[in-house]
């Protein structure tokens, strides 16, 4: 099981069912996960394509999408920020 967090406009189109998911065995990296999410939820996939999306793995910025994911990880999907 991994925990997925969708922020901002991605949160608007992500169903609650994606909050906690069991990933199939072939989903091993962040890159795999992003593709899998886009396949599961085409609307969310298009939203991630339309805007630069950063991935955060266990609260740290993931610069390399080849990073492996493991059971218990938390992965967040961040569209462009607008603080201040």
């Amino acid at each position: 099981m991994v925990r997925l967090v969708f922020l901002g406009k991605l949160g608007d189109v992500a169903p609650a069912s994606l909050g906690e998911v069991s990933l199939p065995g072939e989903v091993r990296t962040l890159f795999d996960l992003k593709s899998w999410v886009a396949r599961q939820q085409p609307l969310l996939g298009r939203a991630m394509e339309a805007t630069p999306t950063r991935l955060i793995l266990n609260q740290a910025v993931a610069h390399d999408l080849a990073a492996p994911i493991a059971d218990g990880d938390e992965i967040a999907f961040l569209p462009p920020m607008s603080g201040g």
Binding site: G11, M81, G83
Partner: protein, 153 residues
């Protein structure tokens, strides 16, 4: 350095007063307050909602504040950022700096605001009569961010 993300409406002047209290060693206090406007870009914004990513948002804002603090030799920084549903007239963000020299305090507050606009993990949505829209940094925010980075702020 004090960084706080708050869910409830806050009084920015009371925060600044508490921050500066008893600090008669620091002669200069600069503060910025960003308030939810009644109207933005011709749109009648009825409500603003700000999403955050608990834990990560605080950590990233603290990292940005740390960079600014080191660069301008200004350790005494305060950031209070509101999240959740915000009404017109309510404070969204407060950044304050205490320093012995006013130039440092001005630079620190201004540059930290530039950083927050583009780099703070927060997401703003305006809801009005025409529905909602997510706000993204404008081109000028990115220009300002790049200038701030290069020391042109």
């Amino acid at each position: 350095m004090q960084i706080r993300i708050v869910q409830q409406s806050f009084d920015p002047q009371a925060e600044v007063a508490a921050f500066a209290k008893g600090r008669d060693d620091a002669g200069a206090l600069v503060s910025f307050v960003g308030t939810c406007r009644a109207a933005t870009d011709g749109m009648d914004a009825r409500e603003l909602r700000i999403d955050h990513y608990p834990g990560f948002s605080e950590k990233e804002i603290a990292r940005l504040a740390g960079e600014v603090s080191a660069r301008f030799d200004c350790p005494d920084l305060l950031v209070v950022h509101r999240v959740g549903a915000i009404l017109p007239g309510e404070a969204i963000v407060l950044v304050a700096a205490l320093s012995t020299h006013r130039a440092n305090a001005f630079d620190a507050v201004r540059v930290l605001m530039d950083y927050l606009k583009t780099d703070a993990p927060l997401w703003k949505k305006e809801s009005g009569p025409q529905g909602g829209r997510w706000i993204e940094p404008r081109a000028e925010d990115h220009v300002r961010r790049a200038q701030a980075e290069k020391g042109m702020a």
